[in-house]
Symmetry: C2
Subunit: 338 residues, 2 copies
């Protein structure tokens, strides 16, 4: 059996209140007794029981992270930022991995009423108004990472400007002389309401328009996220009579599918086809993939910092922090062939 606060009190010849006080560095304890208590604590190898502390404090000292597909490289990197930042905060982290819309809904429904976490980080998932309310009501603060929530209920959020990012990616291709530029994305109506594909599409369209290039709907293909599906879609694009000379993929994973399709079609990249991705996941460098770098680690880190700040000071103003994306040119984009 591990030592309890009572054991310490007894051995030190003080009341348990005093021990509690030295543990929490609080209030005033005479230096003499403090030393004595500290000595006994060390001697007994005493560590306060977290469960008891939590119950007494009425706080769980844990934060939850709701994240879809935590195995995807981009999410993993965000998680790493979260984990690192939380490390010496005294908070535990509990991970809620979402792989289906039902699961998301269940977490949104259950977590607030469970008294399991003091606050929640929602990653890459856009809650609807109805989702937010239970958290508000249970007084569980939320911070959004890589997601934005437009409603009245203002939320702390770390957003990435996907519109601008999509625009810059497209501009890069335009500046290289491309005019026939296609865009491959997730389904715009996928059940998770991911906004990144939509926003990047908007940026893509803005860039085209600014360059006076009309948007062609047959140049925008959507499908389930993933390499294989993107491969299929790209093959479709490349079979077009006037096939695009450049393809912008909404993620690096999908860009990989595009590269495969190009290979299948006997097209050289970047000579015959330019390809640009999005995210700058680790493998992108290996592939020499031109892409939009996101500050994934940093976004997780900032999210935690915001959440910890809210936990400290519950009625601070909600903040929205924008993480910029940066063009990283490698070897899959080049001037359009005459």
């Amino acid at each position: 059996m591990p030592a309890t606060i009572r054991d310490v009190a007894q051995q030190a010849g003080v009341g348990l209140g005093t021990v509690s006080r030295v543990i929490n560095g609080s209030a005033s304890v005479s230096d003499a007794t403090r030393q004595r208590v500290l000595a006994v604590i060390k001697n007994l190898n005493y560590v306060p029981n977290p469960t008891a502390r939590r119950l007494s404090l009425g706080r769980t000292l844990t934060i939850g992270v709701i994240v879809p597909f935590f195995t995807r490289p981009a999410e993993v990197e965000r998680l790493r930022g979260i984990e690192h930042t939380l490390l010496d905060s005294g908070y535990d982290l509990i991970l809620y991995n979402v792989e289906t819309p039902e699961q998301r809904d269940q977490y949104f429904r259950d977590i607030p009423r469970r008294e399991r976490v003091d606050g929640v980080l929602i990653v890459s998932l856009t809650p609807r108004d109805g989702d937010v309310k239970p958290f508000k009501k249970a007084n569980v603060p939320i911070v959004l990472v890589d997601a934005h929530h437009a409603s009245l209920a203002r939320l702390n959020q770390v957003v990435t400007d996907d519109v601008t990012g999509g625009c810059e990616a497209t501009q890069h291709l335009i500046e290289l002389g491309h005019r026939r530029i296609a865009f491959i994305s997730d389904r715009l109506d996928e059940p998770f309401n991911f906004t990144s594909s939509r926003d990047r599409l908007t940026g893509y369209q803005q860039a085209l328009q600014a360059a006076g290039i009309p948007f062609r709907s047959d140049y925008h293909l959507q499908g389930d996220h993933g390499r294989a599906e993107a491969h299929r879609l790209a093959a479709q694009l490349l079979a077009l009579p006037d096939r695009p000379t450049a393809i912008f993929a909404a993620s690096d994973t999908q860009a990989m599918g595009v590269l495969e399709a190009a290979r299948d079609a006997g097209l050289r990249v970047p000579d015959d086809l330019s390809v640009i991705g999005y995210d700058d996941i680790e493998i992108a460098e290996y592939l020499g993939l031109t892409t939009m770098s996101q500050q994934l680690y940093q976004s997780g880190k900032r999210g935690v910092e915001l959440l910890l700040a809210v936990l400290e000071n519950p009625d601070a103003q909600p903040a929205t922090e924008v993480m910029p994306a940066k063009l990283t040119v490698r070897t899959t984009t080049a001037r359009a062939a005459e």
Copy 2:
């Protein structure tokens, strides 16, 4: 404020004990009162406070996972198996990510004395005898996943037979007619005491010996884990006067570095050089990499199952479960050129 068990008892006109009994499905409660209590529970949207339960039960209802570099693809996949399996077990999961030996030691030291978890899954890390003792003493069961512990303190473990795997990978190359087969691995003396590289080396040597091919120490290079380092090592091998015609990399990540080096050297894979990896991470398929498939997801799943079993029945016999590796031939290996 959320409803407490007392509120339920009052509204249902019963004692606390009765409510507790229906919650835990335990003992005997008359069907009438059970229905009544259930109704009030639903009506009040009551959920038992987990912290209070934990304190009362003297169990944390959470399990910890100690894992090095949880961002590496193979570990992520193991984690996925763990997370899935734990989902409806009623246990929470808390993740301890290890990135330095000091951190590992700290976790090994602190976790047992913290009363934070009921059991621990140690992934890909081989604890020393001194590490195991504190867990034993604190009565916190351990299950090893992808690691083995040879000492007297017999542990539950899910091991992968890396010796056999390394042997089969090498045999594959030998059967393709290769004689000059090199092996690139992690440093054998890296601080985490990972055993996989060592075991795969043993398998490699066994296969060579069985085929009557002498082991050449200049054909075994070791370096930090990672693509870049493997790239460097492979370049070194390929610069040898009698360069190998096949390279076995101790992981897919490292195999990627080998592929890069081959490209740099103007060698075609598999015509001029065969390459085989290990793990079968997701990207391997994309690369067409021949590799040894590990049942990563499954290993995590089995680990959790073992741990839950121990938690149920603390004095069950420790079990060792072996996960086989399977050769997956793709397009980076071929018959040795004449």
